[in-house]
């Protein structure tokens, strides 16, 4: 109908594209786009009234920091930055990792997590759908851990400068009054426990990264450990030390326990639980499971007298079913971690230098 005059009533100024699909620089600009992103992605997922206030800081009621018994509690405070590729891996994602990792750092001090902050650095071009999925993982992990995400921040960096996204979480936790964790220094003869199979997280990530297919995919062990810690401390209050063997794996954690100290560690290599598929993947890639990261395991140094009770408590918890007593603190070789091999020999287990580099053959 080209000879009819155009219908001018249908003309309207087009609003800018809403950018619903991908992150653009404006999402970090602090304007309306930022606000929309927060309201559309973060607030519904985290569903927390304190966060929903969107104040410059979260105001936490003091009752959160005191128990019924009253007095003597201490506050634990921890922060951690999370970068991982791929962002989603079997058994978790950077979202669940960012919650569980910080919750576990608190838990290793015996602290029940109370509140988390979360800061996001997003890369321009990140799919909003993926971001929503990762944020949903965070929310789920926070619910499981019983902790609220109460404050946060979002920035956007140019494409090519952000690796998708990184997340920094900071956590506040409450160490119950009367907690004796860490008050008894480790002594020669103390038992060393691990709460389950080692190397699962690192190999889950690595097997995706390297495209290794196994009949059963390796799943990350990423999990919040406070419940396990609480059960352990109830059964054995005089735990001397708790650590979560994350980067650098069990070798790094054991090395740090004795570095510069008057004690050494001796452990039975055959007693360290390793999933057979993880062991096979390490074999293929020329890696040492002792040096591979965990995200849902703990190492405990406990008095020998309480070791069996502690082990039973770990094993009774869903996250500790494969817990094992792997070794002991010794006076013989201070500062050194020695593995007894299944063949009757012994070798030093060094702390890994940096990134593990796969061997050629």
């Amino acid at each position: 109908m080209s000879d009819e005059p155009p219908d001018m009533t249908r003309i309207a100024c087009l609003a800018p594209l809403p950018h619903h699909e991908r992150i653009v620089l404006g999402h970090g600009g602090g304007g309306v786009l930022t606000r929309e992103l927060i309201e559309r992605v973060f607030l519904p997922a985290f569903a927390n009234p304190i966060l929903a206030g969107l104040g410059d800081s979260a105001i936490l009621p003091t009752e959160w920091f005191s128990s019924a018994t009253g007095g003597g509690e201490r506050i634990a405070f921890s922060t951690d930055a999370y970068v991982v590729q791929p962002l989603v891996f079997p058994g978790g994602s950077i979202g669940s990792l960012a919650v569980n990792g910080t919750v576990n750092d608190l838990a290793m001090s015996g602290a029940k997590p109370v509140a988390l902050s979360a800061a996001f650095i997003l890369e321009e071009g990140l799919e909003v759908g993926l971001l929503s999925r990762l944020v949903a993982d965070m929310a789920q992990a926070a619910r499981t851990a019983g902790v609220g995400i109460v404050t946060g921040d979002t920035k956007v960096v140019e494409r090519g400068r952000g690796d998708g996204l990184s997340i920094t979480t900071t956590g506040i936790g409450l160490v119950p009054a009367g907690s004796r964790l860490g008050s008894r220094p480790p002594r020669a003869g103390d038992a060393i426990l691990v709460s389950g199979t080692i190397g699962d997280h690192g190999m889950a990530v690595m097997s995706v990264r390297e495209g290794l297919g196994f009949e059963a995919p390796i799943e990350s062990d990423s999990a919040a450990l406070y419940g396990l810690v609480a059960d352990l401390l109830a059964a054995c209050p005089d735990v001397s030390l708790l650590r979560d063997p994350t980067r650098g794996g069990l070798a790094m954690t054991l090395g740090e326990l004795v570095a510069g100290k008057g004690l050494g560690i001796e452990f039975d290599e055959g007693a360290v639980p390793v999933d057979p598929v993880v062991a096979a993947a390490c074999e293929i890639l020329g890696l040492d499971p002792l040096q591979v990261a965990n995200e849902g395991k703990l190492v405990a140094v406990v008095p020998a007298a309480g070791a069996e009770a502690a082990l039973a408590a770990l094993r009774a918890h869903p996250l500790g079913g494969k817990a094992a007593r792997i070794g002991r603190m010794v006076a013989d070789h201070p500062g050194l971690v020695v593995a007894r091999t299944p063949y009757g020999g012994a070798r030093i287990v060094p702390m890994p230098l940096g990134e593990q580099l796969p061997r050629i053959c």
Partner: protein, 369 residues
């Protein structure tokens, strides 16, 4: 892993070790050629199970350790070229060249990537047709088939932006070089099982005859290694010097025909310099003339390489078995896994790195190494 458990049984290992102790009557020096075997021996502390008469000398079989300095410097220069993606096996990244290592090149902006197979590098070349993708093709006969296959596939597929920096080395000439070196103490060899799985065993009987030395093809699991050592000691005690295959579940006399065919097509023998040891005639492979255009050495004219080996490092003496790592004056002082002067202090298969840890333990026990 189930199939591996039967080669890792502690009781059987102790029985084998006791068997060795019961037949040995005098000291013997046995060299395990392959770095993978060294790694397994140290990791499982198998040497501590053996009677004191049996001394294991760690041979020049860590491919990372013997790659010549000039080749590493060349790799560093190529990796630093703009537009290049330089791919390598992981443990090469920390090996010191004259000035720095590949990790340093990466930190300075070079695109250096760890791959597990040359075929991954070839794939990168396909996906980045605008970039030059170079694979650092080092190793013994074991890694050669895949390295050869990548070049052949690049040729067939017309992937012209792929090349290999080839520094392949061979086991039999190394065994001959060890036997002919002045002051040699080696009296028997454990041949590298995986090398033989590719090449077969027919190259070894002439070496046994010429040097009157027993050679036992040996695997990598604890029981494999102990069985190989046991058979070697049996031969030594009986005055025999034969080739034996103690790894028949993997190794056949003729080897892998398909792998040998692709190697023969793509590579040709050449003289090779071994880091710390020197030039050994016909001890390596380079790309055959037909595939010369995939040779990174020819493609990238990185001139002006002046190598500077650490004056303190005695890795060569270690690799020949002339000294133990802890007899090097720099061991544990200037040279540690954190500040390696030579490649043998870098790789988990390197004798110096292995000793660094084991030696520290011995020192604590009062046996200052």
């Amino acid at each position: 892993m189930k199939h591996l458990a039967e080669y890792r049984d502690g009781d059987t290992a102790r029985r084998l070790a006791a068997g060795i102790a019961s037949i040995v009557t005098r000291p013997w020096a046995i060299m395990e050629v392959c770095g993978g075997q060294t790694h397994s021996i140290i990791r499982n502390a198998l040497d501590q199970l053996l009677p004191p008469e049996v001394e294991l000398i760690h041979g020049p079989g860590c491919p990372v350790c013997v790659t010549p300095l000039e080749m590493i410097d060349r790799a560093l220069a190529i990796a630093a070229l703009p537009g290049t993606i330089f791919c390598s096996f992981g443990d090469m990244l920390r090996v010191p060249g004259s000035h720095g290592d590949l990790l340093g090149v990466k930190a300075a902006g070079g695109d250096v990537r760890v791959v597990y197979s040359p075929l991954d590098a070839l794939d990168l070349a396909r996906r980045h047709p605008d970039r030059e993708v170079v694979f650092f093709a080092i190793g013994f006969e074991t890694t050669a088939p895949a390295n050869a296959m990548a070049v052949r596939l690049a040729e067939r597929g017309g992937v012209s932006n792929f090349s290999e920096l080839v520094s392949h080395v061979l086991v039999p000439p190394a065994i001959a070089a060890v036997m002919e070196s002045p002051g040699n103490r080696v009296e028997a060899f454990l041949a590298a099982g995986h090398v033989c799985s590719v090449m077969g065993t027919l190259q070894y009987p002439p070496l046994c005859a010429r040097y009157r030395v027993p050679i036992v093809v040996t695997g990598f699991e604890p029981l494999d290694l102990l069985e190989g050592i046991r058979r070697t000691v049996v031969q030594l005690e009986a005055g025999r010097h034969e080739l034996e295959n103690a790894y028949p579940r993997v190794v056949t006399e003729e080897g892998n025909a398909a792998a040998k065919a692709v190697i023969a097509e793509v590579f040709e023998p050449c003289d090779r310099t071994w880091r710390g040891i020197g030039t050994i005639l016909s001890s390596g492979w380079k790309l055959a003339e037909r595939y010369a255009r995939f040779d990174a050495e020819r493609r990238f004219a990185v001139g002006g390489i002046v190598t500077a080996e650490s004056a303190l490092c005695r890795a060569g003496d270690v690799l020949r078995g002339a000294i133990k790592p802890n007899e090097c004056p720099a061991f544990g002082r200037e040279c540690t896994p954190r500040t390696p002067l030579g490649a043998t202090m870098v790789s988990g298969e390197g004798a110096c790195a292995a000793y660094y840890h084991a030696g520290r333990f011995a020192a604590v026990q009062g046996e200052r190494p």
